[in-house]
């Protein structure tokens, strides 16, 4: 017996299917965070899939993406709960290895999302290619500003893989293909809206001719939008390229303050990881990698059927 919860409607999940087994499968998702909209969307997708497949999921993550240690403890606690499967998004690819061994010993299958662990035990990684996403952002930025001028980056982390990849993808693309564009400054605001807007304002003050600003996640991007609003600049005077989704970014794009942004498919990631977890429990062979993709969206394609579902609130 894997789960100990009493049968029959203990929690919201138990829709009393009345099948032979009775107890629903338990899947523990340990994510990189839970407060950001991105992770909330992942959870949403996971929940949707869970409801369809009639399994129960738990979802947790540390307060900040710096808390590697706290995340390991969450993973440890998840293993000790002995669920039927675990979904894991590694904050650090090395530190998780011993815990994967523990999971293996406890015969709990592990599937991965967003970022993987350097262990052979994990199965399938459902994620976005951050470098590619950053390059797409750079390409659009460069085209909009006409291939020349100064741009700045407000990053959300100089060290987490997402922050680094999105920055590097952007920087590489500019350096390789856009010789007339200069990246004048890169600073990091931890995704804090307020700090990001103060950073953006300082960048604009320091580089009055700046043509574009790129924010590497929702908080950074909205920070830039706020900065431009506070400075009273006309929409489009500075080209803003953002990342992720959320109603504020969608609003900024609709009003023309933001040129466009990259969205990933967090709901898809959530769905995939749960589906894969169930498949793993059933002993199915899984692919090594599922690219959930990243997409450019702007005022022209907001309503497109491929894009609209990706724009979580």
């Amino acid at each position: 017996g894997c789960s100990d919860s009493g049968d029959g409607g203990t929690t919201d999940g138990g829709d009393g299917g009345g099948d032979a087994g009775g107890d629903a499968l338990q899947i523990a998702l340990v994510s990189k965070g839970f407060q950001h909209q991105f992770w909330q969307a992942v959870e949403q997708g996971a929940q949707e899939a869970a409801d369809e497949l009639d399994v129960e999921v738990t979802f947790e993550g540390p307060a900040a993406e710096t808390e590697v240690d706290a995340q390991l403890q969450m993973l440890q606690a998840a293993i000790d709960r002995s669920p039927d499967a675990i979904g894991y998004a590694a904050l650090d690819p090395e530190a998780c290895v011993p815990l994967y061994e523990a999971a293996e010993a406890a015969e709990i299958p592990v599937v991965e999302f967003d970022a993987g662990c350097d262990s052979d035990y994990g199965q399938n990684l459902a994620a976005t290619d951050g470098v590619a996403a950053g390059a797409i952002a750079a390409e659009h930025m460069a085209e909009i500003i006409g291939g020349e001028g100064q741009v700045g980056i407000v990053g959300h982390s100089q060290i987490n893989s997402t922050g680094v990849e999105r920055r590097d993808g952007f920087v590489n693309e500019i350096e390789e293909n856009w010789p007339d564009i200069e990246i004048v400054d890169i600073q990091y605001g931890d995704g804090d809206h307020l700090r990001s807007s103060d950073i953006a304002k300082a960048m604009i003050a320091a580089n009055p001719d700046i043509a574009g600003l790129y924010g590497t996640n929702e908080g950074s991007a909205i920070g830039i939008v706020n900065a431009v609003n506070e400075l009273g600049l006309a929409p489009g005077e500075i080209t803003i390229v953002g990342f992720d989704s959320g109603s504020a970014q969608v609003g900024a794009i609709e009003s023309g303050v933001m040129a466009g942004a990259i969205t990933q498919d967090p709901i898809g990631i959530g769905r995939t990881v749960v589906e894969n977890a169930v498949a793993a429990i059933n002993g199915e062979e899984l692919e090594e990698f599922t690219d959930t993709g990243s997409y450019w969206y702007d005022s022209s394609n907001l309503e497109d059927p491929e894009i609209a579902p990706l724009l979580y609130e």
Binding site: Q35, H36, Q187, L194, S197, I199, K201, A202, A206, N207
Partner: protein, 334 residues
């Protein structure tokens, strides 16, 4: 013989203590103000873009939230207490405002009032925990810090709440009622004036200082110290509530995950300004200067495109030096 001493005594008076505490307080602030001037001059020379109106007004705006938090917490620190809950508490107030104004659809005024009430409530609970349950302020407010962080997430349903339906809300912080200075800056200075009056010119302020100097002696003097402590923490809570409203207005949204770390910045501003963590010595003007030092420094480093990691290092060193100058001076005074 008596005469000669008297003369000596009077001389001293005019020379050094004058109006004793007052002069000392001014010296203190003078020193902090000196540090601020040095920073401003340095950055003005180092970067052409520092001393522009737009940047200066940006720096002031960036000071507002920390400044308002620091003002409230000056009272608490003057009682020899500390308030670690101001950062996440501010967030909870912002979220409360948003929930009432947007989610419940009650609009701007009830939202703002709810935010302030939330701040007062948190401060009240802190005060009761400290005064009546004798919790060390560090623990009482650390606990509140956690609770506020959790509750902000819970009542916002872990997602930001936008004020897009109430466009007027943005004006609280970003409107310009007076000239071209954002309202948030005005709010900070007005609150500074009120706090200055409260600390320096009222019974409330006297008791705040007295409790910080010697709580037991204050109690034995017939002052209901417990009740006053509750009042002091509640007042600080109201400042937290105002900061919450201001930050929500500035961001146009309530961001429930924000806030951790603001408390240390605000406390640092208070101490840099010259308020003593040991209690009994508080200065409102100093606090505002301290907050300005912090934000000028951060802004200047950004303007100069110093790498973020080096910004931390410089910030740490400058904080130490700013307070060092003060502590060396007061050592000489001995």
């Amino acid at each position: 013989m008596t005469d000669s001493t008297q003369v000596a005594v009077e001389e001293q008076d005019t020379a050094r203590t004058g109006h004793g505490a007052t002069v000392r307080a001014w010296l203190q602030q003078g020193l902090a103000f000196g540090s601020l001037l040095v920073l401003v001059v340095f950055f003005a020379i180092a970067s052409d873009n520092f001393f522009t109106w737009s940047n200066i007004s940006g720096v002031l705006l960036a000071t507002a939230v920390i400044g308002i938090l620091a003002l409230g917490t000056t009272f608490v620190i003057t009682t020899a207490g500390i308030d670690l809950s101001i950062g996440t508490g501010m967030t909870l107030c912002a979220v409360m405002t948003a929930v009432v104004a947007v989610n419940w659809g009650l609009g701007l005024v009830p939202g703002v009032l709810a935010g302030l009430a939330m701040g007062a409530l948190m401060g009240f609970v802190n005060g009761v925990n400290v005064a009546y349950f004798k919790l060390p302020p560090f623990i009482a407010t650390l606990a509140m810090m956690q609770v506020a962080q959790g509750l902000a997430l819970v009542i916002s349903d872990v997602s930001p709440i936008y004020f897009s339906e109430i466009p007027a809300f943005k004006n609280i912080a970003l409107g310009t009622a007076l000239g071209s200075l954002p309202n948030a800056v005005l709010i900070m200075f007005v609150l500074g004036g009120i706090a200055y009056f409260m600390l320096g010119k009222t019974q409330f302020g006297r008791f705040t200082v007295a409790i910080g100097s010697n709580e037991e002696a204050t109690r034995l003097s017939g002052v209901n110290t417990r009740r006053w402590k509750v009042i002091i923490y509640t007042v600080a809570g109201i400042f937290t509530g105002i900061a919450g409203v201001v930050i929500a207005s500035r961001l146009g949204s309530a961001q429930p995950q924000l806030g951790v770390g603001y408390e240390l910045q605000a406390i640092a501003a208070v101490i840099i300004g010259g308020t003593s963590l040991l209690g009994g010595r508080g200065t409102i003007v100093g606090t505002l200067i301290g907050a300005l030092i912090m934000s000028v420094l951060i802004n200047g480093l950004r303007i100069m495109s110093i790498q973020t990691e080096w910004q931390y290092v410089v910030l740490g060193v400058v904080i130490a030096i700013a307070v060092l100058a003060d502590s060396l001076r007061s050592r000489k005074g001995r």
